[in-house]
Symmetry: C2
Subunit: 203 residues, 2 copies
Amino acid sequence: MALSKAVAKVYLAGPEVFLRNPHEIGEAKIAICASHGLEGRFPLDGDIDFDGMAIRECGYAIYRGNEKLMLECDAIIANLTPFRGPGMDVGTAFEIGFMRAAGKKIFGYTNSSLTLFDRVLKANPKGLKRRKEPLTGMLFEDEEKLGVEQFGFADNLMIDSAIHESGSTVITGKSKRRERYTHLGAFEDCVRHAAVQLQELNT
Amino acid sequence: MALSKAVAKVYLAGPEVFLRNPHEIGEAKIAICASHGLEGRFPLDGDIDFDGMAIRECGYAIYRGNEKLMLECDAIIANLTPFRGPGMDVGTAFEIGFMRAAGKKIFGYTNSSLTLFDRVLKANPKGLKRRKEPLTGMLFEDEEKLGVEQFGFADNLMIDSAIHESGSTVITGKSKRRERYTHLGAFEDCVRHAAVQLQELNT
């Protein structure tokens, strides 16, 4: 008789929650996870009754649902695709930090093939300025005199490094601009990679 | 004989690390903390020897230093002031999530007096569009058809809610645009508030 193996639960973080129909992409991601032996959990899974709640209380209730869902999972697969600017979604960054301190495995992917540095460069049509007294990894600054990280990372060093220290690496894909929140190629590569790593943990 | 009281250690997170002279503002913040009975710890405190290291390894070393520093602290005071777009700095968001899961107290302040919704609105000169089938707290969407949170929060709901669930609230200040990363009025209000809360924990 074969022993049944525990299926790893994975929290699916990313800016998809801001799409018109987040359930649709959530279900597609969960199906991809299932095809690689993982149980995907999408942030909107929780059934919250918002009836009669003040709008701020709705926000807090969504937060509590997400926090509970994260703690039930063994790992996070985070979508680092840029969101309203050169950097990633703030909520997803929060969740990566949360899962790191909670001792979970962290995986990440992005549909941008550029580094954070190159995206900040693109967002500054007048170019970046070389600093006279640069700090490590910050040779250039933008118009607001804020240093621009140049570590070759996909996003802020806390993100790429947390994923690295967790034993993984950011999976980088490419998609058309208008498909950057819906294209699931890099996501599936990341799921495949996570499935191998999470299986190794179980054996 | 009076008993000596343990001084709470506070991790000082924010986009100040991107300023030309982060040590200067770090020291100013530490001095304000000290004047309210708290021990401030600034992310650049750690002495790392980068000699001969590849640039990515420098990033990982900085990360490990920050992670260690966070775990040594009892609380975080995070600067949520917008950074390269309508939202806050991604590294700081990561750190708030990290400290939340690590069971530390979370405090936050911002030098923007606008809500996230109003800043996204400002960043979209053509305006936002009302959704036909809105989800809770997301009645409008931007040009990329991404929903815009309208919970009355200073930033992404994960941030404001984590601070709320930790027993605090975001302190909102106001500064001139060019002083938004250096003005310390809202920071000092936040330190004052944190000092009271952290003292209550000790008694």
